[in-house]
Symmetry: C2
Subunit: 254 residues, 2 copies
């Protein structure tokens, strides 16, 4: 999984006390990971941190400097615990003024719905100086892109819509495709042969994931590569290995 | 959420390419978070990293030095991509010999099931010098505790059993309890009053989480504190605030 090709690297930063208290099961990381993979961008790490300004600022500054792209989720609503925009502005050392376009979007949206545009609601129009807006077709309050940092909502359907808006702006890389061989062998049975295959094909990443399907033990052998022919070659070799070791190959779950 | 009390701090490290490719939705963080909260231990951050030795070693060394406890999940099986024990040994600068008790446990388990104890299976008995075992009642191969680092399996039901074994060994702190007021107001409506309450009661953490129940917008206002009387006081004030602002309070989901 080392980023040895020319593809862009990315990190994800999930912000929110609720993720570290067990209250909320994050649903954003797997979605972002899947979409970045489709785009050929290498997700190298993710972090989960609380609504704590110093922590947010320092982690943003670390991750934006060590990755081509940084995606954050959470903390851009109107309440006191929504501090991501403030922290991004501080991380970049810029002001956080009301953004003309964001302000217009919010005022139009509130007027059409007879909602009072109070100070707290208008906080959502504060955008770091120099950032561009990320559309929010769900609930209008925009995310924003500040250099290589993409600041998105925490609510999954809003985050997903924002990511849809962002993806076309990113530089694609060679896409890593995956294929899975599912079998009924134990990990200890396949380990030696699998290790040999991994050593023989370093351009392919082979992962071994035990699990259960309909209460039967099933082992998923996942092959990942940017080279489709190699992927196919290794898949066939793994299927042959399973049969040689007395196992059965099952069709992979969709 | 700042750890300003005397409670122990913790970090969680989720290890595995599958978590960064979108293949696997992590289910371990929320579980560990919940159990640590019950124990009064403050979970300060989580990281998700790939099966990449240098990364694993450096992140383990960073997090074990900056937190009282570090919990890792993943990478302790028999296959080539299971490298967590090797990385922990390297992080601590110790050897990784076959552990007498772990070896006996595995041999007994394999013999009883007529499984061949091959080299790969016996890799699961390699434990960093100086570590103690963590019981695995599900599939026998143990986790281990190396100083303040707790190395657990990635498969959720095994990880959960290991955490059960580990929790009694940890130093409890003042437990932060949470209470939730669910209402039908928008975040922008409650924001000003909520901000005032948060400023008035700094010993309480107030979080605001919009969501939907049966296709209706619902706002969950979550109050967290180590002081039960204060928790109750702020809950009543938040309920009064909701009514004053024309909203309705709903019973919180269990």
């Amino acid at each position: 999984m080392k980023n040895t090709d020319t593809a862009k690297s990315a990190a994800v930063l999930l912000i929110g006390n609720e993720l570290l208290s067990g209250r909320t099961q994050d649903a954003n990381l797997a979605h972002i990971a899947t979409r970045l993979k489709e785009k050929g961008i290498r997700l190298m790490q993710a972090r989960v941190i609380p609504d704590h300004p110093e922590t947010i600022i320092s982690v943003i500054n670390e991750l934006r400097q060590t990755h081509d792209y940084l995606f954050t989720t959470g903390g851009i609503g109107p309440t006191h615990d929504d501090i991501t925009a403030d922290c991004v502005a501080q991380a970049f050392g810029v002001d956080l003024p009301l953004h003309t376009e964001a302000k217009r979007l919010l005022l139009d949206y509130f007027q059409a719905r007879d909602i009072e545009p109070n100070d707290d609601r208008m906080r959502m129009a504060r955008i770091p100086e120099g950032a561009t807006l990320i559309d929010n077709p769900v609930s209008i309050a925009p995310g924003f892109k500040m250099q290589n940092v993409f600041v998105m909502a925490g609510v999954p359907r809003i985050m997903q819509a924002m990511l849809d808006a962002v993806l076309p702006q990113l530089v694609s890389g060679a896409v890593q495709r995956s294929d899975t061989v599912v079998c009924d062998l134990g990990e200890g049975t396949v380990a030696a042969a699998l290790r040999e295959l991994q050593e023989r094909f370093p351009a392919v990443d082979i992962g071994s994931y035990p699990g259960r399907v309909d209460n039967n033990s099933r082992l998923s052998l996942v092959i990942t590569s940017t080279d489709d022919k190699l992927l196919e070659q290794v898949r066939v070799l793994i299927e042959q290995m399973v049969e040689r070791l007395g196992g059965q190959v099952y069709s992979a779950p969709v």
